[in-house]
């Protein structure tokens, strides 16, 4: 940092930050700095900069202050009330507020990652073209158009080994080459930002935190393929992402980075946003295209593949947000550099959305090939509440679970599939000993059953039939043939369904049966939920040997169904109990069963 560099105050303003009051914090910084004349006092400009997501949304509002003396210091859980104090102490007095600093685990969380795709995210102002340009923005597309032929751009992508980050892992360069090879004057580029897996929000964070990099990635793809128009299909549930991306598109048009004769390079590229209307299945590429066309979002049979006959019947290349976000880095730093990251078959980094019973939930970008154990324990701090790890669901409702004994599975496409899960869009839901695996399967199936478009029979009716069986099992009405029925149906539904939704929806069931068959058997044969999770199978009583007489259950119970007095064992009054499980969740000693 040079002598006169401004003091930078970076305030995380992703959806997580905003919902925790980042806007108020930002306003307060502006107010305090202006009112106190801080710039004059410290003799430097104080830049309050909004940024995208840092990843550890649980600790929002995150504020990074970068000064010459103290370097970069992160404060977490910042509220507007604390701003004045932070300014006084940290900026004016140049002393770090040690108590308010983010705990060491925050730095571990950050340092253990490798940020490639998310370099800009959380660092630069997503609403500023200048900020993007300062980070070599639009240099990659310039390099492509000025120094490379479309074919060599595709070769570079192929050489990099980048695979589609939407879940399937299809080699991106190859996909581009198919679309480039299809004859046709009109071709389209689509960015799939219909991120719908429960708990996954990496695409949202990139759009919110670094929207220009998506535009640039799509422009490069357009140049390589010969497409002059693109759509970004964003789900309407991402208002902030839409707002920022639209702002970026508008600025690009204004400054000549989009439209006719882009940047004077002699190639045209138009881009517009199409908002999704809340259907999960529209993340499937053919349903997505149907939706853009104004049809009901229902998948269409492939072949013909979009590269041959896609949007409006024209050759179309469709990649997801994270894939496009990789493109500029590959061009700028070279395919060889990119290929040096990751494993033999999965190059580069991958962003995971880690949620569930883990200490630090959030977005984590790591090089492909890191083990699941490292992600959960080294980056995210391990399991919360000192409970025992049971499994991690990788790949959301389409994926499968990875139990403790194969926790050293590397996170790459092929290893995860071998383990019975999948990369998917990168959701990792961590489960501990209190999570019932039958219930997990039921949860994901409830989701896919609701989100089935209703077009093909196996998915529409088959998932409902499977869910009926699972519900029966979790309610203690399971039958001895149920497991076989689920296995048989699941296998057939996978093979017989029309689109990715149906073809993967049975995965959570099949993988939980594979690794946790005993839990199913306990539910069916003993009418018992080993994780004490399925309400209908709980005994609803206090275990005297385990109860420490703390009374936490009494406080948690909303209906006065717990009898407890200081120093006494708690007692559960079954007549009053509504089986809400508040007491169970509140008990740190597993004393309720």
């Amino acid at each position: 940092m040079s002598e006169n560099a401004a003091i930078k105050i970076l305030i995380c303003q992703g959806t997580g930050g905003v919902s925790m009051g980042a806007k108020e914090v930002e306003a307060e910084f502006f107010r305090v700095i202006a009112e106190k004349g801080v710039d004059a006092i410290v003799g430097k400009r104080c830049d309050v900069i909004k940024t995208g997501c840092r990843g550890l949304c649980a600790n929002d509002v995150l504020v990074d202050i970068i000064t010459e003396e103290q370097g970069r210091v992160t404060y977490d859980f910042v509220t507007a009330e604390e701003v004045e104090k932070i300014v006084d102490e940290h900026i004016v007095n140049k002393t770090t507020l040690e108590k308010r600093k983010a705990k060491p685990y925050y730095n571990t969380f950050v340092d253990q990652q490798m940020r490639v795709v998310m370099t800009g995210c959380g660092q630069i102002n997503p609403e500023s073209l200048d900020a993007y340009l300062a980070e070599d923005g639009f240099k990659a597309v310039e390099q492509c158009v000025k120094q490379m032929t479309p074919a060599s751009v595709i070769d570079e992508m192929k050489k990099s080994g980048l695979r589609g980050r939407g879940g399937g892992g299809f080699p991106t360069g190859m996909k581009w080459s198919f679309c480039a090879a299809t004859p046709g004057k009109v071709k389209y580029i689509i960015c799939n930002a219909d991120e719908g897996d429960p708990g996954a929000f990496m695409d949202r964070s990139i759009l919110e935190g670094d929207p220009y990099c998506i535009i640039e990635g799509m422009m490069i793809a357009g140049y390589a393929i010969g497409a002059t128009a693109g759509y970004v299909y964003v789900r309407a549930e991402y208002p902030l992402a839409i707002e920022r991306l639209q702002m970026a598109i508008d600025v690009c048009y204004e400054k000549g980075y989009l439209g006719k004769n882009v940047m004077g390079f002699g190639f045209d590229f138009d881009l517009r946003i199409k908002k999704g209307a809340g259907a999960f299945v529209c993340g499937e590429e053919t349903a997505l295209m149907a939706s853009i066309e104004g049809e009901r979002g229902m998948p269409r049979p492939r072949p013909p593949f979009p590269a041959v006959k896609g949007l409006w019947g024209k050759p179309t290349n469709i990649n997801n947000v994270e894939t496009f976000a990789n493109v500029r880095h590959i061009i700028l730093k070279g395919a060889d550099w990119y290929a040096s990251l990751g494993t033999e078959t999965t190059k580069g980094t991958k962003i995971f959305a880690v949620t569930g019973k883990v200490k630090h939930t959030g977005l984590v970008e790591v090089p492909a090939g890191m083990t699941v154990r490292e992600v959960i324990y080294n980056v995210c701090g391990g399991i919360a509440n000192n409970r025992k790890f049971k499994a991690v669901q990788a790949g959301g409702p389409s994926g499968g679970c990875i139990p403790a004994d194969i926790l050293d599975t590397p996170v790459d496409y092929d290893s995860l599939i071998k383990a019975g899960a999948m990369m998917g869009s990168g959701g990792l839901v961590v489960m501990d000993e209190t999570t019932c695996m039958v219930d997990v399967a039921r949860f994901f199936l409830t989701f896919t059953r609701d989100e089935s478009c209703g077009k093909c029979v196996p998915c529409r009716i088959g998932l409902k039939a499977m869910l009926d069986i699972l519900e029966r099992i979790t309610e203690g009405r399971g039958e001895s043939t149920d497991i076989d029925k689920l296995l048989e149906m699941g296998t057939t539904i996978k093979k017989a369904s029309l689109c990715g939704l149906g073809q993967t929806a049975p995965n959570p069931i099949l993988s939980t049966i594979k690794y946790f068959r005993h839990e199913y058997e306990a539910h069916i044969n003993e009418k018992r939920c080993p994780s004490n999770c399925c309400k209908e199978l709980l005994l609803w009583r206090v275990i005297p040997e385990k109860c420490v007489k703390c009374g936490a259950c009494l406080k948690a119970c909303p209906v006065d169904a717990i009898k407890w007095e200081k120093g006494q064992l708690a007692e559960l009054i079954i007549e009053k109990c509504t089986k809400c499980k508040s007491c169970y969740d509140a008990c740190r000693f597993m004393a309720i069963e």
């Binding site: 259907a279 299945v281 009901r296 229902m298 269409r300 049979p301 072949p303 013909p304 059953r449 609701d450 989100e451 089935s452 478009c453 209703g454 077009k455 093909c456 029979v457 196996p458 529409r460 009716i461 088959g462 998932l463 409902k464 039939a465 009926d468 029925k485 048989e488 149906m489 057939t492 539904i493 996978k494 093979k495 017989a496 369904s497 029309l498 073809q503």
Partner: protein, 826 residues
């Protein structure tokens, strides 16, 4: 061509074939529920799953997957059978299984496949749905509980009918096919959805509880309504036509039918059918024997002939078969010796018999129906052709939606086809189409876009000298630039076809308009080539046949208008009306009635005691198209067979038998009334029909060739000046009716039971009327009170009324001019 192996059989098929097509070609049946060859691939039911060696890991839908070289396909492995059985079990889990009361039983793909795959138990249990059944719309009963979500109804309605009555709604297990806002179905009732429904979710209400499918005898014939010439399969039981049966392999239209064709068959077994000859005695029509009636007619005809053959005239409907028209002509032209014969009020065939005859030397269109799909630009004139010829409308829909045909509609009102993607409608002032087309020719000449080789070019150019495109623009309401660019677009299209529907509802300048259009085609070099030329759509099922056989005055005799005038002036003393109903369908009802009342002897042969028949001295009951054999010739020159499906209703006889009897009685020479023999006779004397026999007509008929000699013709422009302050009334066809016969069909009458006056929203607001209100419509000829229908397709100042109905028949106020100016009052 692509080579592949299916179940160890080597198959070679076209590149664009699917695995399903290839298997079919190899004689291997793959089960399907959601596939239809007419529709875009869907791939929803998963019954057609097969295994492909090169695509291991999942099962491949045969109906959507294109073949590729060297593919190895298996269609019936254990895994496939398991998957198919699972699909059926799952479908049956929700299906109500009410087969005993379901009208589709016996014709149900789900039932048949369940049987074939022996699905006699279900691993699963679940509650059934209880969706509300739509009993409320007039023709289609919709029971979503039976639906298996193949989506065919929604797809056919969108892709081919281009109406879009249905769509999937909801997600997951609650997904279903629904109408807008889940209300009762409100569509154009073509019933295409019923035809493709693989189960009993959609059934034809008129057929409900009428018969089991397996009890039906199926008879292939041709629809007897419009000139499209759709093939039809009648479902017959106990000597009654009970329904029409869908056959996807029938005709150019793949079994597609419109509302009239599908639901209008009930006139055949209507209880209003005439069953006995009737003779007027003491002013009252009384039943008689055939002998008595025929003797009387023959005697009076003979007398009149002996007195003066030119005092005899005959009108005939072009609904009769070619063989019957041939005998009709023989009877009147040869035996009686009068040239006073005509059909369709004269003007409804002038486009062919005068227009094309003078321009091209033939009385038939040079283009065929298949040319629609082969063209790049369609110029549709007068109306959008959908209301008159709905199945040709389907062809246009498909052409525009799938092949991107550039559709241009020149009409006085917008129509359904105006809504097609990128269709351009040129809504001109009523009656000005002739001027408009002439101005287009002028624009071509001005732009030097004319084929210099065409005959009579210099003379034609001179005839256009007085035309100012700007002046035409003012008169038509279409700007000069638009006229010019339309002309240029037409000329520059690689292949361009003109479509002109004609009929009793579209009166005035038929000949001139046809000639002006043909001039345009000749000038632009758009004739005599594939996808080019002009297609004149005759109104009735055999309008083209009537033109081919010369059922109009050819040697200076009276045409229809002159015949009626002659009746009134008593120059015509004997009038024979075969199947026509001039009282309702010819212009100027008062004049027609006066004419019929004036004639000394009136013979009417018809299916029903029509308003015309009620005035007759003798009424002869005839057979419907379902009771006889013969041929019809479609607008596209396709000669097709009709076949007898049931025995005669009552004592009715075919028109053919009656004419033969009369010829025998009058001339004393027996003629054969045998259809096959008559076809042979007429084929040898009718250009293009040579060699045609019942045997060699085949399933799809025979499109006879025409030799044209194109010639530019100077068109006489007649202008009908607008009357200030009045509404322009244009008449035409209702989508649900054709002529006046459809009034005896239950289906059409349930949807469109009466005459109405359609007007635009602005005019309705100005007049302060709403849908269903009544308006007094007054013209120079008379006054009528009509129910109001408010729509969006009519420009301000223009109103529309269909012509088919007896009560409040529109010919009370229209007199055959291209436009009738009327005043409207509440």
């Amino acid at each position: 061509m692509v080579n592949l192996t299916i179940d160890d059989k080597q198959v070679t098929v076209a590149n664009d074939a699917t695995i399903f097509d290839a298997a079919k070609a190899a004689g291997i049946r793959i089960p399907i529920l959601c596939h239809d060859k007419k529709l875009h691939p869907f791939g929803g039911c998963r019954m057609c799953l097969v295994e492909v060696e090169q695509m291991k890991g999942r099962l491949i839908p045969a109906c959507t997957t294109p073949v590729s070289e060297g593919m190895i396909v298996r269609t019936a492995t254990d895994e496939i059978m398991t998957a198919r059985k699972l699909v059926l079990e799952l479908l049956l889990l929700k299906h109500p299984l009410d087969c005993p009361v379901c009208d589709a039983a016996g014709d149900c793909d789900l039932q048949n496949l369940t049987y074939e795959y022996k699905v006699n138990s279900n691993k699963f249990t679940d509650e059934k749905f209880h969706w509300k059944i739509d009993y409320e719309n007039p023709l289609i009963e919709r029971d979503q509980n039976r639906c298996i979500h193949c989506g065919k109804c929604s797809r056919i309605c969108d892709e081919i009918v281009a109406f879009g009555a249905y769509s999937f709604v909801n997600r997951g297990i609650e997904a279903k096919i629904s109408t807008p806002f889940d209300e009762k179905l409100d569509c154009e009732y073509c019933g295409s959805c019923i035809s493709v429904c693989p189960v009993g979710a959609l059934i034809a209400k008129p057929f409900k509880f009428k018969a089991r499918w397996w009890a039906l005898n199926r008879v292939k014939t041709v629809c007897s309504y419009c000139g499209t010439g759709c093939q039809l399969t009648l479902g017959v039981k106990d000597d009654k036509v009970l329904t029409t049966v869908y056959d996807e392999d029938q005709g150019f239209h793949n079994g597609q039918l419109c509302s009239r064709g599908r639901f209008g068959y009930q006139f055949v077994n209507s209880d209003q059918r005439l069953t006995n000859p009737l003779i007027r005695k003491n002013g009252v029509l009384e039943p008689s024997s055939w002998d008595e009636a025929l003797n009387l007619v023959a005697a009076r005809l003979g007398e009149a002939k002996n007195y003066d053959p030119s005092g005899i005239a005959a009108l005939v409907t072009p609904r009769l078969t070619n063989e019957e028209l041939f005998l009709f002509r023989k009877l009147f032209k040869e035996i009686i010796g009068t040239d006073n014969i005509d059909h369709s009020a004269g003007y409804a065939h002038e486009a062919l018999t005068k227009g094309l005859k003078e321009s091209l030397g033939v009385t038939a269109s040079p283009a065929e129906i298949a040319d629609i799909q082969k063209s790049n630009l369609l110029l549709v004139i007068k109306t959008d052709a959908y209301e008159t010829h709905p199945v040709i409308g389907f062809e246009i829909n498909i052409g525009v939606k799938r092949k991107g045909i550039d559709l241009r509609i020149l009409s006085d009102k917008a129509g359904k086809l105006s809504k097609l993607p990128d269709a351009k409608s040129y809504i001109h002032k009523p009656g000005s189409e002739l001027l408009l087309v002439t101005a287009m020719a002028k624009a071509l000449v001005d732009a030097d876009l004319v084929d210099t080789a065409c005959k009579g070019l210099d003379e034609f150019k001179t005839s256009l000298a007085g035309i100012s495109i700007e002046a035409v623009a003012a008169k038509t309401g279409i700007s000069a630039d638009t006229i010019k660019s339309l002309a240029v677009d037409y000329a520059r299209a690689e292949r361009a076809l003109i479509v002109l529907p004609i009929g009793l509802g579209y009166s005035g300048h038929g000949k001139e308009l046809t000639q002006a259009l043909t001039n345009l085609a000749i000038l632009a070099g758009k004739i005599g080539k594939e996808g080019c030329g002009i297609l004149v759509l005759g109104e009735k099922n055999n309008s083209q046949g009537a033109a081919d056989l010369g059922i109009h005055p050819t040697t200076g005799g009276r045409d229809a208008a002159a015949i009626l005038a002659g009746c009134q002036s008593r120059a015509i003393k004997f009038l024979f009306v075969a199947g026509e109903n001039p009282v309702v369908s010819y212009p100027d009802r008062a004049k027609v009635e006066k004419a019929l009342d004036s004639v000394s002897f009136l013979v009417v042969q018809d299916l029903f005691l029509t308003e015309t028949a009620k005035k007759a001295d003798v009424v002869l009951p005839v057979k419907s198209f379902a009771e006889k054999c013969g041929t019809f010739t479609s607008a596209g020159r396709n000669i097709q067979r009709i076949r007898k499906a049931i025995n005669a209703v009552g004592q009715s006889r075919s028109d053919r038998e009656i004419f033969a009897e009369l010829i025998a009685r009058i001339s004393g020479v027996a003629v054969s009334g045998d259809a096959a023999a008559l076809l042979g006779e007429l084929a040898s004397s009718t250009p293009g029909y040579k060699g045609v026999t019942f045997e060699n007509l085949g399933d799809n008929g025979f499109i006879y060739p025409v030799e044209i000699s194109p010639k530019l013709v100077t068109v006489i422009l007649e202008e009908s000046p607008a009357e200030e302050g009045k509404f322009a009334l244009v008449t035409g066809s209702s989508l649900y009716h054709c002529g006046t016969m459809s009034r005896f069909g239950e289906g059409p009458m349930l949807v469109a039971p009466e005459t109405y006056l359609e007007l635009g929203r602005k005019d309705a607001a100005k007049l302060g009327v709403a849908e269903g209100d009544s308006l007094k419509v007054k013209s120079a000829a008379g006054e009528l009170t009509l129910k109001v229908k408010v729509g969006v397709r009519l420009p301000e100042g223009v109103v529309f009324a269909p012509y088919h109905f007896e009560s409040s028949s529109i010919n009370n106020i229209v007199t055959g001019a291209p436009v009738t100016y009327v005043t409207l009052s509440r």
